[in-house]
């Protein structure tokens, strides 16, 4: 008997097809990361029993859940906009699950009060959902899902509805609660930072398929699709490596590297490792190319410069002072360089 979640989710809806293998060990938090419309939420709804599966399997702690309706799966779910019942108090919202699973009114309310206390909302038991702030509502929703003592916890974009500052606090709190949760947890997000902070393992979904899977640090360092590379803020190219040189873009360009893999590879480098010059620089051998400035935009306390090819598109981060000094504007031509030691090459 395998512990935790073991599933292959096959869902067909109109022209969209999802086919996603997914496992999560007890105590493990797996993040489904992907662009809008990739099928992340559909996967979660299939797990919860809210959309029918067209194939595959779904087992939690060895039990086959596929034939069971949503109300008998023993799965807790936190919805994107929480969906707290507007006609019930925070306490009765949390007590709803235990009541449905056969607890008496008083036992259910006692358990609910404990859960509210655990998420730091003991003082809000009698509050109606519309009187709660976004962060408070999210915590009530989490307490409500956990109060049924699920074997599998599902979180659908749990932080998406929060403003930036609340998000930081709630993310930290959510991380603590997930760390204390002994069952398997699956989290859906389109925010790489949420995935990195909250998950033990990330599954990247694009167009209904698994495209990459691994520990957050691994995903961040070695993206395998353009989508992931943009998410984690890396320039990524696919090419053929031979003796320290990677030929990319079908032979149009080469990049030198100090890494050793040969054959089909990915080559990645950070925008901050791209140096820009008005005139061709002299000196040490490095990857140097002439590029057109496609756009300059603010990016934190840096300026992000979109460079367009030929030979290839890239992103460079420079200081605002450098933007002025280089007289960067859309359409201007500049020289761009990346040291071979700043590139990272790994097998495709």
């Amino acid at each position: 008997m395998s512990e935790g979640l073991d599933a292959r989710l096959v869902v067909r809806r109109g022209g969209f097809a999802l086919d996603l293998p997914l496992t999560a060990a007890p105590g493990e938090v797996v993040a489904l990361l992907g662009p809008n419309g990739a099928g992340k939420s559909t996967a979660l709804r299939a797990l919860a029993g809210l959309v029918p599966m067209a194939g595959g399997h779904l087992r939690v702690d060895g039990e086959d859940l596929r034939p069971l309706p949503a109300d008998r799966r023993g799965i807790g779910m936190v919805f994107q906009d929480y969906l707290l019942f507007p006609h019930l108090s925070a306490l009765d919202n949390v007590a709803f699950g235990p009541r449905c699973r056969g607890a008496g009114r008083r036992a259910a309310r006692r358990a609910a009060a404990e859960w509210l206390d655990r998420v730091g909302l003991a003082g809000y038991a009698s509050a109606r959902p519309r009187a709660l702030s976004g962060g408070q509502a999210q915590r009530v929703a989490l307490a409500r899902a956990l109060a049924v003592e699920p074997r599998l916890l599902l979180l659908d974009e749990p932080l998406a509805a929060l403003d930036a500052r609340t998000r930081l606090e709630i993310r930290a709190a959510l991380r603590r609660h997930l760390a204390g949760f002994t069952g398997a947890a699956v989290l859906v997000t389109h925010d790489p930072l949420d995935a990195m902070v909250l998950a033990d393992r990330i599954v990247v979904v694009e167009d209904g398929r698994l495209v990459q899977e691994g520990a957050p640090a691994d995903i961040a360092r070695r993206p395998r699709t353009g989508y992931v590379a943009r998410l984690v803020g890396l320039n990524l190219y696919r090419g053929r490596a031979e003796r320290g040189t990677v030929v990319i873009g079908g032979g149009d360009a080469t990049l030198d590297t100090v890494d050793s893999p040969e054959g089909e590879v990915f080559i990645a480098f950070a925008p901050s490792s791209v140096a820009l010059y008005r005139t061709r620089p002299d000196g040490s051998p490095r990857n140097l190319w002439r590029a057109r400035v496609a756009a300059v935009e603010r990016h934190g306390d840096r300026a992000r410069v979109q460079l367009s090819g030929p030979p290839f598109d890239a992103v460079a981060d420079v200081t605002p002072a450098a933007v002025a000094e280089l007289e960067l504007s859309e359409g201007s031509m500049i020289w761009a360089a990346v040291k071979a030691t700043e590139t990272h090459v790994y097998p495709a």
Partner: protein, 265 residues
Amino acid sequence: MRTDAVPGRPPWILVLPALAGLAFLVLPLLGLLVRAPWSTLGTRLVQPQVLDALRLSLLSATLATGLCVLFGVPLAWTLARVPFPGVRLVRALVTVPLVLPPVVGGVALLLVLGRRGLVGGWLDAAFGITFPFTTAGVVLAETFVAMPFLVISVEGALRAADLRYEEAAATLGAGRWTVFRRVTLPLVAPGVAAGAVLCWARALGEFGATITFAGNFPGRTQTMPLAVYLALETDPQAAIVLSLVLLAVSVAVLAALRDRWVGTA
């Protein structure tokens, strides 16, 4: 010089018919108030036949509303939530009493539930239950004409309600009956209440189906509208008084509906 973008005065071709329409709606009510025998109003109101008719009207309208809620809410839920072949046809059938002349409804009821009707004959033979010319018949006639109001109102509320609340309840372990009882029904409660008030008002004013199916027996089947009609031939002053009572009840219902539901929903 114009300082804002408000267009010129409204065109008279719209304003005149509007005023005429308003006058047409309001003047009869004013006439009722003007011609009312205010000096003898108190004594006329407490006459036994007036009180009997009023009591019977309130009782039967309330019972009919109860029946409408009892059967109409599940019917509305089925129409809104259970996909079945012919759902459009059933929905159309439900609204038939809305457009059917009430007298026709009364005749139809008589044919089915009358002493020799399809179902009525069997009920009479097996249980000794008869509906025509009884208070129960009044309630049935009113239920028949009022039920569509409730079904339409509740079905609309069910369609507007966010289905994801029901999904959330399901993930918490609630079966469909529990979901209905603890989530769906509370969410559509304003719709049920508005539907019930409309139902009640319609039942209170019911005339055609009632007089056809239940007859006109004072104290048993003579509701307020029937009493008004009868009094008009014998004692017009009494008819005005009875009409005033119905007008007062209608206005009260309208006010309640506006403040409690229409305004906030």
